[in-house]
Amino acid sequence: MEFNNNIPIYIQVMEKIKQNIVSGKLKLGVKMPSSRDYSAQLGINFNTVARVYKEMELEEILFTKRGLGTFVTKSPERINRLRHEMAKKQINAFINGMQKIGFTKKDMIKFIEMEFNNQERNE
């Protein structure tokens, strides 16, 4: 994983894990690597991974079983909510960017449809 040194590393790792959960790469209830293994794998500090796990436990996306390790939540509702949160963030960033270059709501919708049609035709 490549890191952007301008953004706190734990935030980047959290984003990555969330993406993997939402996209299905990380399945519900699956065991996460230990903080020590994961930090070695990512080439980052041990405490950073510990912090990631702690934060994501607070968000109820991960949970820890004493002595057994850290796991991905088993709740499909929580994952669904996460998917919505992430989608909303993407859309807002998109809308924001489009407004900056002068697009109205109608233009945006039209443009999205056009682009999708283009892509389908190219496939």
């Binding site: 301008n6 706190p8 080439g43 500090n45 405490n47």
Partner: protein, 233 residues
């Protein structure tokens, strides 16, 4: 108590130079500290005082709440910048030397590490590239079983790939009860493994704090902060 090392009002004067000026620090177990600053900012002086190689002019250094002595010294693994190996030695002789020298040296793990970083024990020191010497120095310093490790400029004069190996060694060596202090001016390469930062400028602490908090509050990388702190000269 999580504090391993406490430094209070530490100053060091040479004849015509004020190398350290009222330095106060507290290092906690389980963390990797970056001691950052340009050449001549006092990084090496600070490390040498902690290692017991220099005597401070004033102030106090406490390891586990005890003033520095020959006893505390045994609990510190210090790696100087210079290449301190004899050219005529083979790598395995140096490992032998370390295990004779330090009771806490872990021979087996040292040889495992050397294998992992591809340093052949039969090599003679004079034949090693500076990248290999750099890796060997760090591997040996980290093969001791102590609470405080201090690595002075471990990335200096080492190629990019060897740097990655060294950074990986440091990451894997940190444990709950240990403190690793790494001095460097090559910030961007190592910043992702640092917990806490200490910026040393002209012998005083210009800035210190948690790496992630500083990134967040200043909205830039550690390298960016480094440039902010030292750039105005």
């Amino acid at each position: 108590m999580n504090e391993l090392l406490k430094i209070q009002h530490l100053s060091k004067y040479y004849y015509n130079k004020n190398a350290l000026n009222d330095v106060n620090l507290s290092l906690e177990k389980g963390k990797i500290y970056g001691l950052l600053g340009p050449n001549g900012s006092g990084k090496t002086t600070l490390m040498k005082i902690i290692a017991g190689l220099h005597k401070q002019t004033s102030g106090e250094v406490l390891l586990n709440n005890r003033p520095l002595s020959y006893k505390t010294k045994a609990n510190i693994s210090y790696m100087p910048t210079e290449n301190f190996f004899y050219d005529s030695f083979k790598v395995k002789d140096i490992v032998k030397f370390y295990s004779d020298m330090y009771e806490d040296f872990q021979v087996e793990s040292a040889f495992n590490t050397l294998e992992k970083i591809k340093v052949d024990p039969e090599f003679s020191i004079s034949k090693l590239s500076s990248g290999l010497v750099g890796k060997l120095k760090v591997a040996l310093a980290l093969s001791r079983n102590v609470e405080l490790y201090m690595l002075d400029e471990p990335l200096n004069g080492v190629d990019v790939l060897s740097r990655d190996v060294i950074i990986d060694l440091i990451t894997r060596s940190c444990g709950e009860n240990k403190v690793i202090v790494v001095s460097t001016h090559l910030v961007s390469e190592i910043e992702k493994i640092l917990d806490s930062l200490i910026f040393l400028k002209d012998g005083t602490i210009a800035l210190a704090g948690d790496a992630e908090e500083l990134r967040m509050s200043r909205c830039t990388s550690v390298e960016g902060i480094y440039k902010e702190v030292f750039g105005n000269d």
